[in-house]
Symmetry: C2
Subunit: 227 residues, 2 copies
Amino acid sequence: MSFPKPNLAVDLALITVMDGHLCCLLMNRQDAVEVGGDWALPGGFVHIDETIEQTALRVLQQKAGMETAYLEQLFTYGNLNRDPRERVVSVSHFALVPAKNLAKAVRGKNQLALARIIVNWDGETGGAASAFSEKLGTLNLAFDHADMLGDVVKRLRGKLNYSDIALELLPEFFTLRQAQEIYEAILGHKLTKPAFRRKLTDRKTIEPTGQRETASAFRPAELYTRI
Amino acid sequence: MSFPKPNLAVDLALITVMDGHLCCLLMNRQDAVEVGGDWALPGGFVHIDETIEQTALRVLQQKAGMETAYLEQLFTYGNLNRDPRERVVSVSHFALVPAKNLAKAVRGKNQLALARIIVNWDGETGGAASAFSEKLGTLNLAFDHADMLGDVVKRLRGKLNYSDIALELLPEFFTLRQAQEIYEAILGHKLTKPAFRRKLTDRKTIEPTGQRETASAFRPAELYTRI
DNA sequence: AGAATAGTGTCTCTCAGACAGTATCTT
DNA sequence: AAGATACTGTCTGAGAGACACTATTCT
C-alpha cells in the first residue's frame, strides 16, 4: 500500500445513571481551539497489534482506570474534518458502568468530569446531544462527540425494549425501584410501576434474594440480583 | 503519527430477495489460498480524501455498476488476522437492491455471482452464514465474510419489526403478496396473510395505486407503491 | 363452471398501561 | 398510630395470530 492511510481510533462513551440522570465520563482538553471543544470522550489510536475491542479495553483501563465493563461497538465515524488537525476515523463504543464505580474513577482527577447527557428529542429519533455539569455548566464537546453521544442515547433507548443491558448499570444487589429509575433516566420519561415490575420479573434474568435494602426510610424493598 | 497504521477498508453486502431466497452479490477471487476462500464481498480501501460512506458508494459503483441504493453501515471488524496478508480493518455495510437491478448488474460478468445466504439459526440470535449457488454449489467465503453475512441477516431480521427497510427490496410497484415474500425470505419462516396485510397497510409508508398487476394467472392483485 | 388466488371479518390470546387497593416497614 | 413506600389485583384497550369466509379474475 503506497497511498496515505487515515488514522484509526476508538472513542469510548462511559455511561452511567446517577441521581436519575443519564451521565457520561468526559475528559478535559487543553487544545480546545484546535479540536472544537473543551471536553471529549476518552479515546485512543488502534495500534497495529491490537483488535478494535482491545483498543477499547485499553482506553477503559488507561483513561478511566477500570478493569472491565459491558462494552459494545456502536458506529464508525469517518467525516473528513471531524478532527481538524488530521484525518482520523473513529470507532465509537459505549460502556455501561454502575454509578459508584464511575464516580470512584472520577474522584480526585480534575481533568475528568461526570456530565449529564442532554437530548432534546423523544423516543428513538436521532440527533446530537449536549453535556451539562452542575459544577461547570454546559460543557463544550470536541470533534463530533455531540453526535456520538446522541447516537449512544438512541441505541440505548432502542435496546431497552428487547435486551437487559440496562441492568449492567445496577450494582450487584438492587431494588426494582432502582431498576425503574435507570430505565426512566435512559428513556427520558416516567414508567408505570406495575407494568415495569411485570416486565422485569417475567424475564428470567433477575431473581429475588429474600434480602431487603437497609438504611431506607419507611418500608424497605426486596433486593434482586442478576442470574 | 510515527507508528504503523492498520489499513482501513469497506466491505459491502449487496442484498436482494430472489425467488423467495435471501441473496447476496459475491465476487470471485484468484487469490483464494491466501485469503481463505474463493468468494468475497465487494470491497475497497478508504482513500484519504473519502468519507466511509463515499467509499461504500464508490464500491457500489465500481464493483457492482450501480449508481445508488439504500445503504447502511453495520459493524467494524478488526481481528488481527482477518486478512492473512496484512492488517486490514473493515467497515461492513449492507445495501438493499430490488432483484431485477442486482440481476442486471451480475449478468454477463462471470466473476460475479448472486448466491443464496444460508443461516442455520432462527430468530435474531447470531452466528455465521454460508453462501450457496444453484450453478456452483456452496461458495467458500474469504476473510471473515461468513461472519459479516451472518451479522447482516441478524440486523435485517431485527430491523424488520420496527422499520420499512424491506420495502427497499421491492420494485416501484408491487403487490402485498410480493412484500410478504420479502419478509418471509428475510425472517426464514412463513407469516399469516391478514396480520401481514394489516401491519403494512396501517403504516403510512405505502399506498394503493388502483392499478392491478398484469400477466398473472387468476385474479390479479392490486399494486401498491411507497409514499 | 371451476380453479386458484386476492382480500376481509372476526375471534381469541397476550401484553402493556392505568388505577386502586392491600401489605409492611420506620419513626 | 401515622405516614410513607412496597407490592399486587384487576380492568381495559391495542395488536398479532389463526381461521374461515367472500370476491374476483383467468382458463
